[in-house]
């Protein structure tokens, strides 16, 4: 088994645990590179099937390419697709910096979606290497009724014995990609030939490394036009993955506040 095989096996294990131990589960599909890998891993886990709904909580501010991609692969991958909407920005906490406030719409959209569609477990494709508070996440991360993350008192999690016993009203975020890095995602995408949105590839010296909403995501300088070139770029880059995400740079605690409130 090589490195990617080990990562894949661990993710498959996580998917199967959640599917067996939790009641209703569903997957958040942001249409980005990570969540495509996540769908792929689910099909590995369930031998070609995705036996739960795949959900997109739509900020309606995504790039047009992302909507095209979505519609195409719902059909091709035979997905049971659900979609939710996000409330307008005016309803968000005004004390948050502007980009973070915009991102908070997604949290609220998810909360509303979960209120209408009760799930016991939600798969989310976050990784520890993206951001320092995500580095502290559990694979099975319990959330109260409001979706809040009690990061000061997380339950222990070891030996792949995940938390599967909860008081009523709890749901769990399951993170099958937590142990992957950005490099791993691209190497796996390449090996498995997983489709990705073109926005990740450079045009006119710019490409997106991470895809958020149109208004709060900036492309980075790059000439990487193919998967090989992206991988080569990552080997030497000194720029962090989320450098194009405005909300990460507004205030020291902006991301923590968002996540504590239930942001992915």
């Amino acid at each position: 088994m090589d490195h990617l095989d080990r990562l894949e096996s661990q993710s498959v294990y996580i998917f199967r645990e959640a599917f067996n131990r939790l009641g209703r589960v569903g997957m958040l599909w942001s249409l980005g590179k990570d969540s495509n890998v996540m769908i792929w891993l689910a099909r590995k886990a369930f031998l070609g099937h995705v036996p739960f709904p795949v959900m997109h909580v739509d900020t309606e501010k995504k790039f047009p390419e992302m909507y095209e991609f979505r519609d195409r692969y719902i059909k091709e991958w035979n997905l049971n697709f659900l979609s939710g909407k996000c409330p307008p920005i005016e309803e968000m906490d005004a004390s948050l910096p502007p980009a973070a406030r915009s991102a908070a719409r997604k949290t609220e959209g998810l909360k509303n979606f979960l209120a209408a569609n009760p799930f016991d477990g939600i798969f989310a494709g976050i990784r520890r290497d993206e951001q320092a508070t995500r580095a502290k996440e559990r694979v099975f991360s319990p959330r109260g009724a409001t979706g809040a993350w009690n990061f000061r008192d997380q339950p222990p999690e070891f030996w792949d014995q995940f938390n599967t016993d909860f008081p009523p009203g709890t749901h769990v975020r399951i993170h099958p990609l937590l142990h992957w890095t950005e490099m791993d995602i691209w190497l796996y995408t390449q090996r498995e030939n997983i489709p990705v949105i073109d926005l990740y590839f450079a045009k006119n010296g710019k490409r997106y490394r991470s895809l958020g909403d149109k208004d709060i995501t900036n492309p980075v300088d790059s000439n990487a036009e193919t998967l090989d070139e992206i991988i080569e770029e990552l080997r030497t880059t000194r720029v962090s993955e989320r450098s194009g995400r405005a909300m990460d740079h507004e205030a020291e605690d902006a991301f923590e506040r968002l996540r504590a409130d239930g942001y992915m």
Partner: protein, 620 residues
């Protein structure tokens, strides 16, 4: 290609404030592993707080952590040397967050244990060392940090090294290096230090590169715990992760604890050109079988010649994280590989002080404590001893909704019950008995039955058995005593004294006693029979004719009598696994009769048993 590089997970542990997070931050900085702007960002945060630059802020990302200057939760970060990739796990040192330390450390292949040169070895330095060992993390490097605070003193370093090496040695750990470092000043992070020319060993990165990457357990006996059974389409797929060994198409698999076998028909996979013919340790797979067995999540598949242990009782070395203490008698949910079972702690054998390694007797295991306990399950379990297979030899306990502890398994003093499960032959046709029990009852004037004496050595079983036999015989009962002497020489002459043979000895006695009871006799058996599972089997053989009689005297009383000098020898270590001293005695919890011989004379004891027999064996 980086996907062919090896990867190693290393955790930083040690007492609170000894500089773990600082060392991790420094390691990243000095190996030039941080993205542009990160150091500047941290510098600004520190300035805003009016404090000197803190490398620890790289890992301590939560506001609460930065405000208090303490790590609350464990985090993971990626890093590489020329040799290989690393996942570095930072763990908190504060006692309050031991659950988070365990969460971080349990995932590691190796550990760096950090000790403050100024403060020296502290409570959590030892506890963390102990827990690493318990969890089977054998590769440990010790860093004596903050050498700048002790003027890079060789004497100070050597004093700490000596003290801590002695501790680690006493728990069976040999650190591969002890390195003097300074996280703040950057000494011995990636190369030699001018300030410590007296130190000739490796730096931290060199020590990291010296760790071994554990090999997957491909060559060990096969353990394939069933995670789920899928029927998404026409295939019935047994899904799970191979924890050790190798599965090949065509192999016969034995599923425990149901003890059923079937052959592997296919190993399924998605998005491959050809289905694989074999799969090995570490792989998450799905297989189909040639027979539709009733297989459930939690069963463990193995090859027939190397099966896991089957038992409903075992010993465990546990660490406890629950807010409520671990107590005997309470029911917990145990998770072992993919199995779940209701278990109770039958006894807390000793609580271990991880500071001085002394043992205390206690009726509870408090939060953050370590103990040896005996655990009993209501159902038969398939498991391994931790020393044979880590993955199927460890478990967690769930108390209410919370994972509250973990433990590793030992079967010391307990038999594998697989070989003892009595499979009654099915191809034997029972001959209809010509004489019924009532006829025998009438002829003898009493029913047949088994008086099963159990109790510690020296409690008086044989003496009371023999005297009871005389008393009952004189009263006209058909009575006979079975004890070690009359079965060990003949019926059980082929058996030795291993746990399995002892259990088999008791099983045969149970079967013979049951036959004699059917023949109308009152059979008195006089065996220590310390295990509940063995006695339960004897009860199953005799059914309603079984009467368990606890010949009860505590260890102290028996030891003071010590008629054969056995206790003295056991205490001196000349007899191993002596019941009550170095092996468990599981007292009956619902004996038909208890005779407390520390209070009663032999005559009185015999009178009790005899009265019980008059009461229960003569009514029609």
């Amino acid at each position: 290609m980086s996907n062919h590089r090896e990867s190693l997970k290393t955790v930083f542990v040690g007492h609170v404030d000894h500089g773990k997070s600082t060392l991790v931050g420094r390691l990243f900085h000095d190996t030039d592993s941080l993205p542009d702007g990160r150091v500047e960002e941290i510098r600004k945060m520190c300035e805003r707080r009016g404090m000197p630059f803190e490398y620890a802020f790289l890992m301590d990302a939560l506001q609460a952590e930065r405000d208090q200057g303490i790590t609350i939760d464990t985090s993971q970060i990626w890093f590489k040397t020329a040799k290989r990739d690393y996942v570095i796990i930072d763990a908190p040192g504060h006692k309050e967050f031991l659950k988070n330390m365990i969460t971080g450390a349990a995932a590691a292949d190796a550990a760096i244990l950090v000790i403050d040169a100024n403060e020296g070895v502290q409570e959590q330095s030892r506890r963390h060392g102990y827990l690493l060992h318990l969890m089977g993390i054998g590769q440990v490097t010790v860093c004596v940090n903050k050498m700048d605070l002790v003027d890079y003193s060789q004497t100070r370093f050597e004093a700490i090294e000596e003290e801590f090496r002695a501790y680690l040695t006493s728990i069976g750990v040999t650190p591969n290096h002890v390195i003097p470092v300074s996280g703040r000043e950057g000494d011995l992070i990636t190369g030699p230090s001018k300030r410590m020319p007296w130190y000739l060993g490796p730096s931290i990165t060199e020590a990291l590169d010296g760790f071994r990457v554990p090999l997957p357990a491909t060559d060990q006996p096969l353990r394939f715990p069933v995670q789920d059974v899928y029927k998404f389409d026409e295939r019935r797929i047994i899904a799970g992760r191979i924890e050790s060994g190798t599965i090949r198409v065509g192999d016969t698999l034995l599923f425990s604890p149901i003890n059923k076998t079937a052959k592997v028909r296919t190993i399924e996979a998605w998005n491959v050109d050809q289905l694989p013919m074999k799969a090995s340790a570490g792989q998450s797979v799905g297989i189909t079988l040639d027979e539709q067995l009733f297989i459930e999540r939690g069963h463990i598949a193995s090859h027939e010649n190397q099966p896991p242990v089957e038992t409903d009782v075992f010993r465990a070395h546990v660490f406890w994280l629950g807010n409520d203490a671990l107590v005997p008698g309470k029911t917990y949910k145990m998770k072992l590989a993919n199995a779940e079972a209701r278990v109770t702690v039958q006894s807390i054998d000793r609580v271990i002080d991880t500071g001085d390694l002394s043992h205390v007797q206690s009726d509870r295991v408090e939060r953050n404590a370590v103990a040896e306990v005996t655990i009993r399950s209501r159902q038969m379990l398939a498991l391994d001893e931790f020393r044979h297979n880590q993955k199927t030899g460890r478990f967690v306990l769930v108390d209410g909704f919370d994972i509250a502890g973990g433990g590793i398994i030992s079967m010391e003093g307990y038999a594998d019950q697989r070989s003892l499960i009595t499979v009654r032959a099915t191809n034997v046709t029972k001959v209809e008995a010509a004489i019924g029990p009532d006829e025998r009852h009438k002829r003898n004037g009493h029913k047949g039955g088994v008086l099963w004496f159990t109790g510690l050595s020296g409690a008086g079983k044989s003496t009371i058995a023999v005297a009871t036999e005389r008393r009952l015989f004189d009263k006209g009962y058909q009575v006979y005593v079975l004890d070690g002497d009359n079965v060990r020489f003949g019926l059980n002459a082929d058996l030795g004294f291993s746990p399995e043979d002892r259990a088999e000895n008791i099983r045969r006695v149970g079967e013979v006693a049951a036959l004699m009871a059917k023949a109308g006799f009152i059979v008195v058996t006089a065996f220590i029979s310390p295990y509940r599972s063995d006695r339960d089997r004897a009860r199953a053989a005799a059914g309603a004719d079984f009467h368990e009689i606890h010949i009860d005297a505590d260890v102290a009383t028996c030891e003071s009598r010590d008629p054969k000098g056995l206790y003295r020898k056991a205490r001196a270590g000349e007899i191993k696994e002596f019941t009550g001293i170095s092996a468990p005695y599981e007292a009956p919890d619902a004996a038909e009769l208890t005779v407390d011989t520390s209070d009663l004379s032999i005559d009185d004891s015999v009178a009790r048993v005899s009265a019980y027999v008059d009461r229960t064996f003569t009514q029609t």
